[in-house]
């Protein structure tokens, strides 16, 4: 039996409500009905706000709806063309993804006769779980804020996120297996290989940062990076680079778009998905990007740290955090028009030589910085 009263009291304690001066006035205008008040304060309750609004579901949803558009537009711009434009022309085609999504939703879903029906349908949905859960551990408040803005506070936040992120490939392998197609098979094997290639340096890079920070709680990390020269990317650029390349590999961005390589294996594991099934896997790629970018922002770019914007109140940190995340995502996206694709063995080779080397340097650097007390 849930004790509603205790939850309400929890909700209304000092610092557990998100305070946004800009809309505070508007909240006051709301009719004085207890139920609505309660709902508003429930939504503004920090753990719920973090999970549902920012950086959780809503932000993710909006980003997913617009980021592919941004990516396509940016790509088009670099490629001397225009990009999605004609759908609702006065908006500049910004809702292109909405059209795509609607199409996906209403399209026929084909499960071909050789596929394993159960898993074939299940895996695209399941992938959402490891992709969504890490967001719960992200703190988007700035270090100046009195109270953190995070769904779940944990001293092992980074480790848990890492563990969840490392689950991604499992589901992709599952999709490839359930598809039962040659291209999917080759693509899946490639995915597995790439997983081996990036996982170790990626984890080492994160480990380096944990050593540097001396903590793995998301709130503490943000606090640690309170000034810009203490940001992870400046203290340990090697780790940042290793992490960035690792994320590019993990999200199958070019030049490491090896498992999906459409000219070679025709979207690899996703070759047989259609309609909403493909819509999901298409979206999951961006979700992965978001999660990894958020992690990168947290570890290397100072999280929600930035100049305080008074009217936004608690959201000030969130704005900075999102801005940084989008910049990281854009950087990942911009790789697409710049690079061709590496070959599988080259990608694997890089993972186990150059990037691992970088990550190890980063680790050593962190240890040295930590042990000689260079940390300021």
């Amino acid at each position: 039996m849930i004790d509603i009263n205790s939850i309400i009291s929890e909700m209304t304690t000092e610092g557990s409500q998100v305070i946004i001066p800009l809309i505070q006035q508007m909240l006051g205008l709301l009719p004085d009905i207890p139920m609505i008040k309660l709902m508003v304060s429930f939504i503004l309750w920090k753990p719920i706000f973090a999970a549902l609004i920012c950086p959780g579901f809503s932000t993710l949803g909006i980003l997913l709806l617009f980021f592919p558009w941004i990516e396509r537009k940016l790509c088009a711009r670099i490629q001397w063309r225009v990009g999605p434009r004609e759908v609702v022309r006065w908006l500049g085609g910004i809702i292109q993804l909405l059209a795509d999504t609607l199409k996906f939703i209403f399209q026929e879903v084909i499960i071909h006769k050789d596929a394993h029906k159960f898993y074939f349908l299940q895996f695209p949905l399941l992938t959402f779980i490891p992709a969504l859960l890490p967001i719960l551990f992200v703190n988007i408040a700035s270090a100046d804020a009195e109270y953190p803005l995070v769904a779940i506070q944990s001293p092992y936040a980074i480790q848990i996120m890492l563990a969840l992120i490392c689950l991604f490939p499992v589901f992709i392998l599952g999709m490839g297996w359930a598809s039962n197609s040659r291209y999917a098979f080759i693509g899946t094997v490639r995915e597995a290989f790439m997983y081996f290639a990036y996982e170790v340096p990626f984890i080492i890079a994160v480990l380096a940062m944990i050593i540097l920070f001396g903590t793995s709680g998301s709130v503490a990390i943000t606090e640690w990076q309170s000034t810009w020269w203490r940001w992870g990317i400046i203290c340990n650029p090697f780790a940042a680079l290793a992490f960035f390349i690792g994320s590019a590999m993990a999200t199958s961005r070019l030049p490491f778009e090896i498992p999906e390589a459409d000219q070679e294996v025709a979207f690899g594991p996703f070759v047989e998905y259609s309609g909403i099934g493909f819509g999901l896997v298409y979206i999951v790629c961006y979700e992965k990007m978001y999660v990894l970018s958020a992690l990168m922002t947290m570890l290397f770019l100072g999280g929600g740290n930035g100049p305080y914007i008074a009217p936004l109140g608690d959201l000030s940190g969130a704005v900075w955090f999102l801005l940084k995340t989008i910049i990281v995502m854009t950087t990942l996206a911009i790789l697409r028009p710049i690079y061709p694709r590496y070959r599988l063995d080259q990608g694997l080779g890089m993972g186990w030589s150059a990037i691992l080397f970088l990550a190890l340097i980063a680790l050593v650097l962190s240890i040295i910085m930590r042990s000689v007390g260079m940390v300021l």
Binding site: L74, I78, W80, V82, E86, I334, I338
Partner: protein, 242 residues
């Protein structure tokens, strides 16, 4: 012979090349050299000699069949008009827009337009009859601007003008070389009058009296289409200059 060697790059150079590639992308994302013609809204200006849909002028046609003969795709076929003469029709489901027909039309009855963007919902509609080729057709257009390519010594530029480009061009008629059909070998004439039957301008006439068939080519009426020359089984006719 110029030998092209495959380059070797050291690590430092590679970093430089990475930087150059990234730099190029960055520059282009800020100052892109976009060359896009936004088609349904804008329309690229085509030169006047552009080979598009074909228009037809009845008055200039001498029914010489050359458009049908030369068509490599057999898209042009002549159709009998109510006055008994044959005029071209074009099957756009076969037409390859080579405009050999226009280049073969000595009367200048066929002429080009700049129409080239058409979608048909049915293949049967793609046969364009003579009757439909006379007046300029109407196409669905959404363009408000026209785009012209300017190429100077630096780069390609797109010049956008807020005007609706006309798709119909004034064509100068081809050089006139007046030819006329003449008999060059009367002794071999078998008197079959195929020439008379095939002649669509009514220039060849015959009259039989007293066991003698008199053939006559009216050089004023003769358009020099050459059909009689082609059809004469004894090859006794020839086109000569007027």
């Amino acid at each position: 012979m110029k030998k092209v060697a495959v380059p070797e790059y050291r690590v430092g150079e590679k970093v430089k090349l990475h930087a150059r590639a990234i730099g190029t992308a960055m520059v282009e994302s800020v100052y892109p050299k976009t060359v896009t013609t936004q088609y349904p809204r804008e329309r690229k200006k085509m030169p006047d000699n552009f080979r598009g849909y074909i228009l037809f002028e009845v008055d200039k046609c001498i029914s010489c069949f050359q458009c049908a003969f030369v068509c490599p795709a057999n898209a042009v076929r002549a159709k009998e008009a109510p006055n008994g003469r044959y005029y071209p029709t074009i099957d756009y489901a076969k037409c390859i827009f080579c405009h050999f027909c226009i280049d073969s039309c000595s009367g200048g009855a066929l002429k080009t337009t700049k129409i080239h963007d058409v979608a048909y919902k049915d293949m049967d509609e793609m046969l364009t009859l003579t009757e439909e080729m006379i007046e300029p057709p109407e196409i669905i257009r959404e363009d408000k601007k026209s785009v012209e390519y300017l190429i100077d010594e630096k780069d390609l530029h797109l010049k956008r003008v807020r005007e609706v480009d006309t798709l119909f061009v004034a064509v100068t008629p081809p050089v006139e070389i007046p030819m006329v059909s003449q008999c060059i070998d009367r002794a071999n004439c078998i008197g079959c009058r195929v020439c008379e039957e095939v002649c669509e301008s009514g220039a060849i006439s015959s009259s039989a009296e007293n066991g003698v068939l008199k053939m006559k080519i009216d050089t004023d009426k003769c358009t020099g289409c050459g059909l009689c020359v082609k059809e004469c089984s004894m090859q006794i006719l020839r086109l000569v200059r007027k």
